[in-house]
Every structure is written in structure tokens, then in C-alpha cells.
């Protein structure tokens, strides 16, 4: 009986809230963000028109609370707020009038960090590639080891998703997670 109840509770929790989501640059802390965001999707539209087009609506799979809020999807395009076309004022922040996204200095932007899955990486299994090193905008965030494999520095990584977008492995050897993100506290 107790086991069934716990399972039911887990399912309920999963319906309401599922894991963390990579938010657009300048997002406030998650609790406040969910309160402030009215799901108007203006930032998504602005990103599509003036930015790179990386933002999309969270699907129902991310939980009821997050359904409809914006998220960064590196598989569509990378976020270009740092060293890209959106500098210095990203269009998603410019159009947000609720204060869920707030203007911050470009050097403080950190959307998350990248996770490397070694078994899928072409450089680790077959040799060559290293396209992630080629496209990385931050010097030192990706280093090449002696075995010619990439090494990711999670502290320097800003989570723009350029490497995830460029990775030619199928399925992708890189994943963008919200781990280590920097958010504005209000």
C-alpha cells in the first residue's frame, strides 16, 4: 500500500514539475521566473526574428508548471547572446516586459553547462572530429588532451550550445543541461 502511494506521489510530482530547464539569458531565479512569466511567448518570437531562433516553448513533458515557458534548445540553433549576433542587448530580454528576463552584463551570462558522453564521441571512439573545439567561443572552455579528445571546463562553459549544435555524432555526444547556471536573484 505504502509503495503504491509513494509511486502515485512520484507520478503527481512528475506531472507538476520535471527536472530543470535551460532558460534564456538574463532569467531570474526559477521560482520567481515561474511567477513572473505569463507565457506570452514574445521572447520566442523575438528570438526567431532578430536572434538565432534557439528558443522554443516547453512541451507538456516538462511538467504542467513549465508548460509554455521559453527554453533554449541547442538542437535548433545555439544561443548567440555571448560573442554572437545578439550582443550586447539580446532581443529576448528587450521584449520581455514582465521582468522574467532582465538585462545583465554579457560577461555574467551562464545558461548552464555541457555534459560529454564519451561512448558516443567520434574523437574518443574513432579519432578525428573535434568540431566542438572549433566552434567554442570561450578560449579555454574546451581543451584537447594528449589522446586527442576534448576536455570540458564546466566553470568556463557558458552553455551557449554551439558545440551541441555542431556535434556530428548520431546520437549527439553532448548534452546541454542547466547545471551550474547563473540566475538573477530578486
Amino acid at each position: 500500500m505504502a509503495k503504491k502511494l509513494i509511486a502515485l506521489g512520484n507520478i503527481l510530482r512528475a506531472i507538476l514539475d520535471r527536472g530543470s530547464v535551460v532558460r534564456p539569458p538574463g532569467a531570474v531565479v526559477e521560482n520567481e521566473f515561474l511567477k513572473l512569466c505569463i507565457k506570452c511567448n514574445l521572447c520566442i518570437e523575438a528570438c526567431r526574428v532578430a536572434g538565432s531562433g534557439t528558443l522554443e516553448r516547453c512541451s507538456i513533458l516538462y511538467g504542467l508548471k513549465k508548460y509554455g515557458t521559453p527554453r533554449v534548445n541547442p538542437l535548433r540553433a545555439p544561443c548567440e547572446a555571448v560573442k554572437g549576433r545578439c550582443e550586447p542587448k539580446p532581443p529576448c530580454i528587450r521584449v520581455c516586459f514582465t521582468g522574467a528576463l532582465q538585462l545583465i552584463d554579457t560577461s555574467l551570462i551562464k545558461l548552464g553547462s555541457v555534459v560529454w558522453i564519451k561512448d558516443r564521441c567520434i574523437a574518443a571512439t574513432k579519432g578525428g572530429c573535434l568540431i566542438c573545439y572549433e566552434v567554442c567561443p570561450i578560449p579555454g572552455a574546451i581543451k584537447i588532451t594528449k589522446e586527442n579528445t576534448p576536455e570540458f571546463n564546466m566553470e568556463l562553459c557558458i552553455g551557449c550550445g554551439r558545440c551541441v549544435n555542431a556535434c556530428p555524432a548520431k546520437p549527439k555526444a553532448l548534452k546541454l543541461l542547466a547545471k551550474g547556471e547563473k540566475r538573477i536573484v530578486i
Binding site: K83, G84, R85, C129, L130, I131, E134, V135, C167
Partner: protein, 319 residues
């Protein structure tokens, strides 16, 4: 009578989104086109290295073309010219100096070709239009009234047969396929995987994003050579004003070399430019290092040009 027009049909299919379904059917996979022109081979290639500490770039380019006996044997009055600079990154120091592109456009315009196109498809995940803007290439194109095309947004892709070993067919943008003359204006840089990135590697900028990924999966060195069996640049103008040494292609140590390296044989230009880069880095045996760059050696083996520095006529000029 109804006539089946393939390109119109293709456009309708892609616009309506049917291509995801139709693409699986073998009949609709698309035509494989034959290469339009054969690559130029030169028996004893000349490579001109013009050095100018004053950086009078237009004079440097003119001087180099004069020593190569002009371009009238390559550029005709009815030819379409594709100028392919390296503007793959959104950091200016990793891209070709726009002044070199300007000088080349100015010189080429005097031969009165039918059309001049500056085109590029940047590295994956980078926005080509933005790169054109920050490097100032849009202004140059407007000033000299030449076309400038962001290939990623131009759309039209064709499949072309190659004479390569690993890559039997390659998908490129139609504009590159239809060009009569290709002028490659790379920046002299180090590259993590390819060793160096000069005019042969620069030709990867006519590929769509999906194809670039395939190159890295297969074998980058061999694929670069296979691509160049069809799309070998007719003229290579290597921008070695500021050289990115030791690491690359996006971040590295910048060395001022104040040079421009020009040749009608892209393989020879690559070999000599790579030697110059290794000398600047202070490598002990530059020739041995050159032979470790697989795609240049392989290009010579497959008969695309000359990479042996002893067989190349190198002319040095200081202005």
C-alpha cells in the same frame, strides 16, 4: 502537354514539407549532377610571396598578380566568379582581412566578368550574415556593386559527383556549382584536426551544415581532397597579414607576418603558406611538418597540384 519540371517539383515538395516523406523514396532522392568543369593543372607552379611592412594591400595584390602574368587566362568576359573568403567565425581576428577581399574584388573587376559573387557558409551554429556585417564585407560589396550571398539562407542545394576515394557524391550550394572561376581567400591559421586551414580547407565553406558533419564523421583529410577534385580553387590568395599560430582555428596566438601568398595552383599555395606558418612558429624541421599535414600530401598524390616545395617556383617580393 504536361512536362515534368524537376526543380519546380522540388520547390513545391520542400515548401509543403513533404520532403521528409518523399525523401525516403529512392525515385525522388534527387539527381546527381556531373561536375561542370575540369580542374586546372599546372606543370611548374609559381607561388608569389609579397611582403610589405607598410601593409599597402592593394599594391601587394596587384604586384602578385602581375608576376603571375595576369588573370586573363582564367577570367573571361562571360565567366561567373565566386570569391570565397573565410568569414566562418564571429570573432574578427579569425576571419580573412576584409581589405584583402576588397583588393581582390577591385582587381578582378577590371577584367569585366559577367558576375562576381562573394559567398560563404559559416561554421556550424554561426550566423553568416552577422559575420559579414562585423567584418565589413557588406560595405565592400555595396561599394563595388558586387553580389554578396549568405549561402545558408540562399537555400538551393545540389548533389554533385566527385572523383574522390571516400566521398562519391557531395551536396553543395547551387551558386558554387554554377560558378566558372573560384577564388579562395583564406586566412593562414592552425587547425585542430586538419593541421592547417588554407585554401583547400577553405572550400568547405560552400557546403551545407549537414554535409560538414559528414566530413568529420568519415575522414576530414580525405574528404577535403575529394571535394577539391571538383571544386578546386583556380586562384588562391592567402591572407598571411596576421597569422594564427600554435592553436586554431578560432583562438590562437596572433603573429604579424605582413605577407600575402598568391598562386594559380592552390595545392602549391597551401604547401608554401604552411611552410611559412611553421617557420613563424619556430618548428625545427618545417618540411617534415608539412608532410605530416595529410590533406596537402594526399592532394598531390591524387594529382590536384604540386606540394613538393622543391618543385615549386617561389618568388619573394618586398615592397
Amino acid at each position: 502537354m504536361f512536362k515534368f519540371n524537376y526543380s519546380k517539383f522540388n520547390r513545391v515538395v520542400t515548401l509543403t514539407g513533404l520532403d521528409t516523406i518523399v525523401g525516403f523514396l529512392p525515385f525522388f532522392r534527387g539527381k546527381v549532377l556531373k561536375p561542370r568543369k575540369s580542374i586546372r593543372k599546372i606543370a611548374k607552379p609559381k607561388v608569389v610571396i609579397v611582403k610589405s611592412p607598410r601593409r599597402d594591400i592593394e599594391l601587394m595584390v596587384r604586384r602578385a598578380f602581375n608576376i603571375l602574368d595576369g588573370l586573363s587566362d582564367i577570367i573571361g568576359s562571360d565567366s561567373t566568379i565566386l570569391i570565397k573568403p573565410n568569414v566562418g567565425f564571429s570573432y574578427v581576428e579569425a576571419n580573412t582581412n576584409p581589405k584583402v577581399v576588397e583588393a581582390v574584388v577591385k582587381v578582378v573587376k577590371e577584367y569585366n566578368p559577367r558576375r562576381i559573387i562573394i559567398a560563404e557558409s559559416a561554421v556550424r551554429g554561426s550566423d553568416t550574415s552577422y559575420n559579414f556585417e562585423i567584418t565589413g564585407l557588406y560595405n565592400i560589396a555595396r561599394k563595388y556593386n558586387v553580389d554578396i550571398v549568405d549561402l545558408k539562407r540562399s537555400g538551393d542545394i545540389v548533389t554533385v559527383e566527385t572523383y574522390g576515394l571516400k566521398l562519391k557524391t557531395v551536396k553543395v550550394y547551387r551558386l558554387a556549382y554554377e560558378a566558372d572561376v573560384i577564388i579562395s581567400i583564406p586566412k593562414l591559421k592552425r587547425h585542430v584536426e586538419a593541421g592547417v586551414t588554407i585554401s583547400l580547407k577553405n572550400m568547405m565553406g560552400i557546403l551545407p551544415d549537414s554535409e560538414k558533419g559528414r566530413f568529420h564523421i568519415l575522414d576530414l583529410h580525405q574528404c577535403i581532397v575529394d571535394l577539391n577534385t571538383v571544386f578546386k580553387p583556380d586562384i588562391a590568395v592567402v591572407d598571411a597579414l596576421d597569422v594564427m599560430a600554435f592553436t586554431g582555428p578560432s583562438h590562437g596566438e596572433m603573429i604579424k607576418a605582413n605577407m600575402i601568398i598568391v598562386s594559380k595552383d592552390a595545392v602549391a599555395a597551401d604547401a608554401i603558406a604552411a611552410l611559412e606558418l611553421f617557420k613563424l612558429e619556430g618548428v625545427k624541421d618545417p618540411v617534415r611538418e608539412l608532410y605530416s599535414v595529410k590533406h596537402i600530401v594526399q592532394a598531390e598524390k591524387m594529382g590536384l597540384g604540386t606540394a613538393n616545395p622543391e618543385k615549386i617556383n617561389v618568388i619573394r617580393e618586398v615592397i
